[in-house]
């Protein structure tokens, strides 16, 4: 991975990835130094080793890893790169931890445009810098045309957890409040509307964002009265609460009217036959909080721009069947279930 002076410059504007960019030779080194190092720029990468040594603060380490295979790669509000950085930061943060370092591994399809790769790498660098996190090691592979859908990214993140904090699903108790940090369904609907070329009057923008600052505020306000924190990504709020219900052996009872959903998102979901509760979010979190501290944590959330629409949407209840139930805005009751398979638009 050492970056030295090389022959011709990368033609970022018109060039494309070819198999040589993954072959371990000069072209690959040039790609890494000319594109990734430039975008991620930090002292650890600059040393050009196959690994990075770093300091860790006091407390317990937290580690997570995730793969990003999204289509389309670019969407309103971000792209696969910023998404990969935010997503991994959030996974670390949901443990209550402060994220520190990331690794990034790229699987690139032969023929991929340099210009697109640069846009993606730049937005990763930007997202990481904005979050005060460093991408300190990585890997690049190029596969033949047809063997990957443009670009796959996988990222690993590490962070540190303050002593005494231990968030976990089985800690939820009857009576705990369910808090969400903002409106649901934005990311998934933005992607879907782009996939189907739907021109809505108001463009729906992904909520992709790094939530660790918000988490820090919440932890400061609520400490260990925050029992569980999770970001409702794929499968949405529905899948996430069902998971927690199974892990904790409890049920949940929600109030549909309290759940924030933007009008444009609700309308788009209606059109596509989707349920916003099943749709992915990339910049929202859900916290299960002991009832006596719920208001304080909610107030802390509202004080942060990423939590200004935070809401208390329901509570944990005793239920052997571990149902997530909801009183509908209409006045009836229903289950909020996992999705079976992929969420597919209905035909009529």
């Amino acid at each position: 991975m050492r970056a030295t002076a090389y022959q011709r410059k990368l033609d970022v504007k018109n060039g494309r990835i070819d198999l040589s960019h993954g072959a371990g030779g000069r072209a690959m080194a040039q790609l890494i130094s000319g594109l990734f190092h430039e975008a991620f720029g930090n002292e650890w990468l600059a040393r050009g080793n196959d690994q990075a040594a770093f300091d860790v603060g006091a407390g317990r380490m937290v580690m997570t890893t995730d793969g990003y295979v999204v289509s389309p790669l670019f969407f309103p509000g971000g792209n696969i790169g910023s998404l990969a950085v935010h997503g991994t930061i959030n996974d670390v943060a949901m443990g209550g931890a402060r994220p520190l370092y990331l690794s990034a591994s790229f699987i690139i399809e032969e023929g991929f445009r340099f210009s697109d790769l640069k846009t993606i790498a730049d937005s990763m660098g930007e997202a990481a810098r904005a979050a005060g996190v460093y991408i300190i090691t990585g890997d690049t592979k190029v596969v033949e045309r047809g063997k990957a859908d443009g670009l796959f990214i996988s990222t690993t993140g590490v962070g540190v957890l303050a002593d005494g904090l231990d968030l976990s699903a089985e800690k939820a108790r009857v009576g705990d409040r369910v808090l969400v940090s903002g409106s649901l369904g934005d990311h998934g609907t933005a992607i879907m509307s782009r996939r189907q070329n739907l021109a809505f009057e108001t463009e729906i923008v992904s909520d992709s964002a790094a939530l660790h600052d918000l988490v820090a505020l919440m932890v400061a306000a609520g400490g260990s009265s925050i029992r569980v924190m999770r970001d409702p990504t794929r499968g949405g709020l529905a899948a996430m609460l069902n998971e927690i219900a199974h892990q904790s052996g409890l049920g949940f009872r929600l109030q549909e009217e309290a759940i924030p959903v933007k009008p444009a998102v609700a309308a788009a979901c209606e059109l596509l036959g989707l349920d916003p509760l099943h749709v992915a979010n990339e910049g929202k979190l859900v916290a299960i909080v002991a009832p006596d501290m719920a208001d304080a944590v909610l107030a802390a959330m509202k004080a942060h721009p990423l939590g200004c629409d935070a809401a208390d949407i329901g509570e944990a209840v005793a239920d052997n069947h571990q149902f997530v139930q909801m009183s509908t805005g209409f006045g009836g009751g229903r289950i909020v279930d996992w999705l079976a398979g992929e969420q597919l638009p209905r035909i009529c």
Binding site: Q196, P263, A266, A267, E270, D275, H321, F323, Q325, S327, T328, G329, F330, G331, G332, G333, R334, I335, D337, A340, G341, E342, L344, P345, R346, I347, C348
Partner: protein, 379 residues
């Protein structure tokens, strides 16, 4: 979502619920069948059952085109997709429907069949244009609502000279199925629950109008109210049905007048009748062979008819004997009455067709309403 909120207002809903409660006579039972899967879905999704008095019961009818598609047609589609020269374009919710061997289009795709999920008929046309050397087949399915787009697609394919494009036609007709529920030869075997009235389909009626239901209402002496898909639409329609029953009337009434007229959409009807003609009979899952209930392409469009083009043969296959779909589609049984419900048969691995589409009675109950079963048992 201003437009929809007006039709989901809790206060108005409570008012309607009170009116239904007041008008439904306590000594009588009111059993209304919503024919359409869209209604079934909405009833469960908004928890409408909780708002009705105990003596007003909704029966989920067969109105989901995915649910009533027999396993044999899925088998045919799988066999077609497995031909190396064929690309099959399919709506997403058909992908998981099991054929007779438990194999679905999703499994066929995993084993290498070229199956593409599409969102509209135009996607299929685009795929055909991009792959002129492939035989591109569109798996057409649905009631009267989705037939006009298929007709338009065939016209477009003709205009564009798409020589290797065809349609596997599974379009079916609503009134024939309602007829068959009320009167079919195997009612003696399955039995039948008394239906006191029908909630008529919304979108379907926007195309065909309310007129085709008039003879049904007369012949069987059952009131039919055409209702929109919003929960308030349905509540209002239920109130209209209760009134008709109380007054001994059996008319076709139109709650959904903002979209439905008596004569329907003439242009769409003409488009359909130009291209399609009635089949003598068509198999419905759970209902068996229903006379004059399906459509096929006219001879003049035979080149676009996949069944002709690939000499496809239908082999009728028996459904899983434990599956109660047939009785459920007729309202004779409820999902919990099927011993496979929630054990062998769930939306993840459906056995019967009612569990596949979110509009199927079993799937709707499993996904939104199954907590009520435990409440009942506890009570």
């Amino acid at each position: 979502m201003k437009y929809a909120d007006e039709f989901r207002d809790k206060t108005i809903a409570r008012g309607l619920a009170r009116a239904i409660g007041a008008e439904a006579e306590s000594q009588s039972e009111y059993r209304f069948m919503e024919f359409c899967g869209g209604h079934t879905h909405a009833i469960s999704r908004y928890g409408l059952e909780d708002m009705l008095p105990a003596n007003v019961r909704m029966i989920h009818g067969p109105g989901c085109p995915v649910c009533v598609l027999p396993a044999s047609r899925i088998d045919m589609a799988i066999r077609l997709a497995e031909r190396p020269e064929v690309t099959l374009c399919v709506y997403g919710d058909l992908m998981r429907v099991p054929g007779s061997q438990g194999k679905s289009l999703l499994t066929a795709k995993a084993f290498g069949a070229d199956i593409r999920m599409v969102y509209s008929t135009l996607d299929a046309i685009r795929i055909a244009e991009q792959a002129p050397n492939r035989e591109v087949v569109f798996f057409a399915i649905g009631f009267e609502t989705t037939t006009p787009p298929t007709a338009v697609m065939i016209r477009l394919a003709e205009k564009k000279w798409l020589k290797s494009f065809s349609v596997f036609c599974n379009h079916v007709l609503t009134p024939s199925a309602m007829h068959s529920i009320l009167e079919s030869p195997d009612i003696r075997n399955i039995g039948r629950v008394e239906v006191d009235g029908f909630l008529g389909p919304a979108h379907v009626s926007a195309i065909i109008g309310t007129e085709p239901y008039e003879v049904l209402a007369q012949q069987f002496g059952k009131p039919i109210v055409i209702a929109g898909f919003e929960p308030l639409d349905m509540m209002q329609a239920i109130l209209m049905l209760v009134r008709q029953v109380n007054e001994g009337r059996h008319e076709v009434e139109n709650q959904y007048s903002r979209a439905v007229t008596r004569k329907g959409n003439r242009r769409a009807q003409e488009e359909v009748s130009d291209i399609f003609e009635l089949r003598d009979q068509f198999e419905w899952r759970g209902l068996g062979l229903v006379p004059h209930s399906g459509l096929k392409l006219k001879q003049a469009y035979a080149q676009f008819d996949a069944e002709m083009r690939f000499a496809m043969h239908e082999v009728r296959v028996a459904d899983n004997p434990a599956c109660e779909c047939g009785a459920i589609l007729r309202g004779v049984k409820r999902p919990v009455d099927c011993e496979l419900f929630g054990t062998v048969c769930t939306p993840e691995i459906p056995t019967g067709s009612c569990m596949v589409s979110s509009e199927g009675a079993c799937a709707a109950h499993w996904t939104y309403g199954r907590f009520r079963d435990y409440q009942l048992r506890r009570a």
